[in-house]
């Protein structure tokens, strides 16, 4: 028997609510809001309360997907990135930088958002960059 409570931060939005994931024999089985976290003070929203469900969900994406012949198929990072780079270059050449947009995430770190912002503005040359928290 191995029961653990893992203190972590909710990944569903940018608020940063503190919660404990309950892990029983390697399976995430429950979520408990942290009473001592200064942000959420023992409260959570409906998404946060159910965050343990996605961690080991069988439908969770673990590899890049590419649409081939109308169907999404798993592929390697190399192939996915090479394809993305070549297409972005083609689109930029043909239609200009502002024909490309970047969509970042409130669920990742500040640093990762900084990188995508820098990539959009400095590498691609567009101000079309936004993120999911601005719904």
């Amino acid at each position: 028997m191995d029961y653990k409570t893992v203190l972590t931060t909710c990944a569903y939005c940018g608020c940063g609510c503190g919660l404990y994931l309950e892990v029983l024999d390697g399976q995430a089985i429950g979520t408990i809001p942290s009473k001592t976290n200064p942000i959420n003070e023992g409260k959570l929203c409906v998404k946060g309360w159910n965050i343990h469900e996605f961690v080991q969900h069988p439908k969770r994406l673990t590899k890049p997907l590419m649409r081939k012949n109308g169907a999404l198929v798993e592929t390697s990072w190399d192939e996915a990135l090479d394809y993305t780079v070549s297409r972005l270059k083609e689109i930029k050449e043909a239609h200009g930088s502002d024909s490309i947009g970047f969509f970042a995430s409130a669920k990742v770190t500040n640093e990762e958002n900084y990188i995508i912002m820098k990539f959009a503005r400095a590498a691609v040359g567009t101000n079309n960059v936004d993120h999911c928290a601005r719904l």
């Binding site: 028997m1 503190g18 429950g30 408990i32 809001p33 409906v46």
Partner: protein, 270 residues
């Protein structure tokens, strides 16, 4: 007080009476549930008082239920306050936990915490540590003018409209145990419109809590509610309407006064 609990649990573990002890652990400034399986880990035991008494309470009974469900033949110890022990008894009564396989390790709450939560018995019978205080003696309800539920019904429905549908009150409740929860019934959750209407399930939940005399008035639902809906007050008012006044903190306090069972019972249980 903590040292007494630590020693008691160490003995239980050393004697092989329990497979683990579900309590609270301090990690830096955080306090959360933890299953202690060795004596060394107990150094970090917390009683759930960070800045104020009882400001870091968790539904340990409910968490234990999940562990015991997978390991039904093992015996576990669990840290309990007065309210936790009441919840434990409710779970025994509905066979969600087996009373022979749970060893409650109890401590008493100070009177300021008892008054804050209107707890009529702020100490468990399985008392291992702490000074017993008399607890809530009844009197004016905190919600005062809103005491008559039916007269103020619209006001309550307006309050229900602030519900953000997080289900936190159900999730945190130590005595909510159903596999199929009525609050997720399609009939209570209107869909299709944007924004969706607020599901009016708070009254349904109140009926479940009170009508079946389940609620132990621990107040965890109020603490978890992001909309600060006074759920405990609602349950008390519903209890009045359905003739279950005796199960409210005021009702229990009055019963204790007439039977004199409060302090005397404590004396005999040391």
């Amino acid at each position: 007080m903590k040292e007494q609990i630590q020693q008691h649990v160490k003995n239980l573990l050393a004697e092989g009476k329990i497979k683990g002890f579900l309590g609270l652990r301090q990690q830096g400034t955080d306090i959360g549930p933890y299953l202690f399986t060795t004596a060394d880990e107990l150094e970090d035991l917390s009683l759930g008082d960070r800045q104020d008494p009882g400001d870091s309470r968790y539904p340990l009974d409910k968490i234990l239920k999940r562990i015991a469900h997978k390991y039904p033949t093992d015996t576990f110890g669990v840290l309990v306050r007065g309210c936790d022990e009441r919840a434990l008894r409710q779970l025994f009564a509905v066979s969600m936990l087996h009373r022979d396989r749970v060893i409650p390790v109890g401590f008493a709450c100070p009177s300021e915490l008892a008054e804050k939560h209107q707890c009529w018995k702020p100490f468990p019978d399985a008392l291992v540590a702490g000074e017993v205080s008399p607890g809530f003696a009844g009197g004016e309800d905190a919600v005062g003018a809103r005491l008559d539920l039916l007269a103020k019904l619209q006001e309550w429905f307006d309050t229900f409209d602030t519900c953000v549908k997080c289900y936190g009150c159900r999730n945190i409740c130590p005595v909510c145990y159903c596999h199929d929860c009525t609050l997720e019934e399609a009939a209570l959750l209107p869909t299709g419109d944007i924004p969706p209407a607020n599901p009016n399930f708070l009254m349904t939940r109140a009926m479940h809590m009170v009508g079946r005399s389940l609620c132990v008035y621990c107040g965890l639902c109020e603490e978890v509610c992001p909309a600060n809906i006074p759920l405990k007050s609602l349950y008390k008012l519903v209890a009045k309407v359905v003739g279950q006044e005796g199960t409210t903190p005021e009702g229990r306090a009055a019963q204790q006064k007439t039977s004199g069972s409060g302090q005397q019972a404590v004396g005999s249980q040391g």
